[in-house]
Amino acid sequence: MNWGDGLLALLGICAFSLLWARKWELNAALLPLPVLGASVVWLWLFGMADQLALGGWLWFAGAAAALCLLLVGGHKGQSLPARLKAGGLDALHRAAVPGFVFFVGAALFFWILFALTQPMFIRWDEFTFWGTACKMTKEANQLHAVAPGNLSARAYLPGMMLVSYLFQFLGVGFAEWKTLAAYDILAAAVFAAFAAQEKKRWPFAVLTLAGAVLLPYLFTPAGDETVSTIHLTAMGDLSLGLVFGGVLCLYFRLPRSPKNLTLVGLSLLLLTLIKDMGMAYALIAAALIALDILIYPRLCLPSLGRAAAAGIGLGVPVAAAYLGWSRYVLAAADIEKNVVGNSEKSYGYGYMFTDGLKQFLGRGSEENAEKFNTVLGLMKNALVHTPLSLAGSALAVLAALAAVLGLCLVMAPAGQRRRPALFGLAGLGAFGAFVLFHLLLYVYSFSDREALILKDYERYIGTYLMGWMMASLGLLGLLAPEGRWPRLGQGAGILCSGAMALVFCLKGVPSAGFWNYPHENYAVRQEVAYRASLVNPELDWDDEVLLISQGDDATRWYYYSYELNAQLAHGFGGFGYAEEDDWAWETTFMTLVSPYQDEYNKEFYAYQSEYQYTAECSRDDLVAFLRDTGYGYILLDQSDKYVYYEFGPLFTEKVPIDRADAAYLYKVVDDGVEMRFEPVGEVRYVS
């Protein structure tokens, strides 16, 4: 079951999708996304009741039942073989639509490819949250908010972790490649909704889908990523943008009925649970859907009621899901989620919005006024000049969106032309609100340093634009072929796809991607994983381990925080910890450097001037620090001359003077007078 777990989950999703398609007479390609949404909500509810594993078992029991129901077709009077044949043929018939074939093909492709190539997490944020939370969820069968592990961002939403959990629920242990493949299967479900066409329209579906699958690459600034991590990352941004676009495509493609709106609602809940910003995306999508219901098929009083009902019916569960999670993390992990800020300042959302609004009028608080005006200027400039796609800045993308929706408006059937017009205008309004929200986040939530560089601006703004572009292409593909000039309409969709492929070929082909990712980039990861595996048997989650890894730039610290089955302790920065006039503060990682300023020591330890994140730390400082914190263990990953000579006497056995073949674990033994570090476990340094 080391790789079959995900295939069984995929089989379950297919069974649910095809059964649902049969019951509600829908195109099967529309179902994988809401089925994944329902699955995540299901696991989430069980998880909040601390019964995640039970939820998983029940999901697979349900999937088995769905498969049986799917395969038993025909009439009650028929023999079982005849009913099985009828059910099987019906399932095959329903599955043979372009979007669903793509979903199954892409899912199998990613699962098999990653099983063979075994990609790993490598991006920084995968160790601060995204990857670590997936690992904790799987290993503890608990939501990451309460699972044991080195994770500070416990209040972040759990949707992606549950997608990962579903696809490796039946497997033994946690596998990173399964998480990555699971996220790509979610992306495939989105593309399936985009391409949910009738069987006979498969050529049009294939040709327009070619453009859609390139969208994530098109929203990578030119030259930014020669080694692309698209479809190879546990971070939720790509999924956020794709699911946002996918939900709107799903809505456009579904026959209009309250029943079918529940499928949209389930997908919106998944969108909400992907990350904090998911709620904003989901509410925007709900508003766009409500506006479309308002004007189509016609603008009248009953349609106003229907639109209001749809808006409320879709929006309230979204808000409830977000607030429910906030209440859960407060109760289960004692974390107040509804604040924004950083290590320097924090504010409530209410203050952020009111003071932010006042800043626009020039009446906001003085302490934030300068930062507000500076960031406002930077954001205005960025919207015009900062490239976030192969087409260029947000302004260039807006022009491209106007072109797509303009084509859609011209080609759409007469009675539906207002739909792309309103979708464009409302989408633009929502984009404006979205940008303003990020402006406030930069001012009130980000540190000054991060705000002044508009940290991750491309990722935040580009994600929305990508989803909006996908939905616009979906609308074009739906309306243009139904208009006055069906052939021309189809041609317009294909033309857009061709233009996107051309831009990608000319400007955006990365030198490596999920198809040929250079495994040498995993060398440090693999080494840390190996070293941690040797000491993990000696450790427990109650243990606090101080890592000494001289010369590290914090990369190894984060890798160890992911790999160790113990709490990775924080260090300190500054100098003079044991002295009265010290200047020291808590840090995550530290490299120990000599505080001695005489010529001999300065020359002897001159190499330490190249180290980053240093703490001037004498033997007395280290002893005082360990006494204050009560840390129980030291993990010596990378030694140097300074560790050897300055701290060597504290160790009961000889320590390496430089890099060694393993990381060595020591227990801190202190009787209040003398502190000693005693080796633990089988892995010992032999000089």
Partner: protein, 203 residues
């Protein structure tokens, strides 16, 4: 899908396969030609054949006979100036600690600078060396990046241009080529069928 659709797809994939075999065959002919002219000959290079940047000598007390160097920042470079027709290059080095990315950049005739787009990523050989598949590039210079971390002590054992490469390995497409071989025939089949549908006839 109708049988006709299946037949159309089979035809497109068969055409792609034939085209692929043709490309591989042409590559084999080209390799034989350049080997004959000497441009594609196997050649061994020493450290003295390279211009080194961000790399300095390193003395390893445990291995005094070996040639060692250490990278001084995260972008160490070994630059070779020369012309060659290359299929496979092997960088024979051993890192004392993980070096992360090991890459080869190549310049084509007329180019003066190395480009981020013209890069080949290493695959480790059974001997622990690093192999780069260039698959028939006529280069005017090479840049080998032995690590991407800095401070990595490395034992240098040589560089081999046009290291032996079994002929059948040419038949195995790279990842990008495999994606094209899967996607392009499908796209062409869809386009042909779409055009046929517009003309109101089945292909």
């Amino acid at each position: 899908m109708s049988l006709k659709t299946g037949r159309l797809l089979a035809l497109c994939y068969a055409a792609a396969l034939a085209l692929w075999l043709l490309v591989v065959g042409a590559g084999a002919v080209q390799t034989a030609y350049y080997r004959h002219t000497g441009l594609g000959a196997t050649e061994s290079l020493g450290l003295e054949d390279f211009t080194l940047t961000s790399i300095k000598d390193y003395e390893n007390e445990d291995d005094p006979e070996g040639t060692w160097f250490v990278s001084t920042d995260s972008d160490p470079q070994m630059i070779w100036e020369g012309k060659a027709y290359l299929n496979r290059v092997v960088l024979k080095i051993r890192h004392e600690k993980p070096g992360n990315g090991v890459e080869l950049y190549y310049r084509l005739g007329g180019q003066e600078q190395f480009s981020e787009k013209q890069v080949v990523y290493a695959k480790q050989t059974p001997e622990g060396w690093y192999s780069f598949d260039l698959r028939g590039k006529k280069v005017s210079g090479l840049r080998l990046d032995p690590d991407s971390l800095g401070g990595v002590p490395t034992r240098f054992e040589g560089v081999e241009l046009n290291a032996p490469w079994p002929w059948w390995k040419r038949l195995i497409p790279t990842g990008a080529e495999a994606l094209l071989l899967v996607g392009l025939p499908l796209g062409v089949a869809a386009l042909l069928r779409q055009i046929a549908q517009w003309q109101g006839k089945e292909l």
